[in-house]
Amino acid sequence: MPLLPQIFDTMLLVATALFDWSALAVRESLEREACHSLGVKLSVHRFGGVGFNSGRHELAHLHGNGLLDAFVGVRARDSVVRSGMASPHHVFPRSGWVSFWIKTESDLPNALELMRIAQRYRTNMPTAAA
């Protein structure tokens, strides 16, 4: 059904605002930093949440409950997961996606680094974690 994933994810965000107001500030910092330091554009993601895009490529998306999914590629995935930077993707663990929960300000550097890895992968540059 059109819009349903977006509406559902927005409800997650409303719930976050009601029960964990401080998490909103963390989300906002991530959006601002990603736009500023990585030059990404924000969009409504097709499966709900905020999409972080570099040119025509999607680097990551952030769900309303604070779960960040970043596309680091299959090769980088294993080292990223081994290093504890992220977990395998919550739905597709064998894909090039990884997941990471953003709850506090201290999670921001890690989230930005995942997006940097994704950006390097998308632009065919060698990844730091690979």
Binding site: V14, L24, A25, G55
Partner: protein, 317 residues
């Protein structure tokens, strides 16, 4: 990588905020009336049926429209939630003035309205960023289409609520008070009664036979006229509602069908009294409003049944 166009500078933010609040609600109301009118051309229904199907999509659209006005203001997430509060409050005031909704209805509607308006604002906050606004305006025709379509795909469902209470008195002592009872002296303790929802005060009985008229009096001078449909002495009393209450808190949103008392002798000098009500809600989403309706119906049942218990147990002493 394509160039990101520079953000448009905010212009007269206060005016923009007020304009967004007012126009978003105005468009939402216009769509509500438009869909209702269209619906009435095809279905012989009252206005209440129309409000519901649109209840999810309309507030969402109101939030989106407000977000379109706010697109140059670069609202933060926190301010977006605050914006949702003002937009929702304007919507509630409009419903109070234009639709003559009661305070209780507005209190019930507010949590869902706020959540959905906030949802629309949050979506629009991303959707209507300067470099996206042209493309994403297509969302409005899509929402209008969904709202209109949704209105035609709803069917009223009859619901029932039953409550029971244990009375330390025999069937013979309980039964007369089920048929009719004098004024309930207690002040209402249920919080929605205190907000203005009418509460039962007295019941009169026109006879002990099928077809007899009954009247259930509520506060605010409301009288619900009933007719006995089943009469089994000391066991069961069923009555149909023959005249719906006319009150801003109820009118158009709910149809009351039937009420019933059933008594069960527990064989130890006590009686279990069951009270049931049948109704149809005309507002959607049903799952949301039915939670409130069941809670309120339960409060009505328990006020009456506790009064019956008090009268019967007084006789026991």
């Amino acid at each position: 990588m394509t160039e990101i166009p520079p953000s448009l500078p905010p212009r007269r933010p206060i005016v923009t905020l007020l304009l967004g609040m007012l126009l978003a609600n105005l468009v939402g109301d216009a769509l509500l009336f438009g869909v209702t009118k269209l619906f009435s051309l095809y279905k012989d229904q009252t206005r209440g049926v129309l409000i519901l199907p649109s209840f999810v999509l309309l507030p969402l659209m109101v939030g989106l429209i407000a977000a379109w006005f706010y697109r140059r203001l670069n609202r933060s997430l926190g301010l977006t939630f605050l914006d949702a509060l003002w937009v929702s409050l304007v919507g509630l005031v409009a419903a109070w003035i234009v639709l003559n909704e009661g305070i209780v209805c507005l209190v019930i509607v507010f949590p869902a309205l706020y959540t959905l308006v906030a949802g629309g604002l949050l979506l629009g906050r991303l959707w209507f960023k300067p470099d996206y606004s042209k493309l994403q305006l297509s969302i409005f025709p899509l929402l209008v289409l969904l709202t209109v379509t949704d209105a035609f795909y709803t069917s009223p469902e009859r619901a029932m609520v039953t409550d029971e209470i244990l009375i330390h008195a025999t069937l013979d002592q309980v039964w007369p008070h089920v048929l009719a009872f004098p004024d309930i002296p207690d002040r209402p303790d249920y919080w929605i009664f205190r907000l203005g929802l009418p509460y039962p005060t007295q019941t009169t009985n026109g006879g002990n036979f099928v077809g007899a008229d009954r009247q259930c009096m509520f506060s605010d001078g409301i009288v619900i006229k009933e007719r006995v449909a089943e009469f089994v002495p000391r066991e069961k009393l069923t009555f149909d509602i023959v005249e719906q209450p006319t009150h801003p808190e109820a009118y158009g949103h709910i149809t009351l069908h039937r009420g019933q008392f059933v008594l069960r002798d527990n064989g130890n000098g006590t009686t279990t009294l069951f009270g049931s009500s049948w109704y149809t809600l005309h507002v959607r989403p049903l799952w949301y409003f039915d939670v409130w309706t069941r809670d309120m119906t339960r409060a009505v049942h328990l006020r009456v049944m506790k009064h019956i218990r008090r009268l019967a147990e007084k006789e026991q002493l």
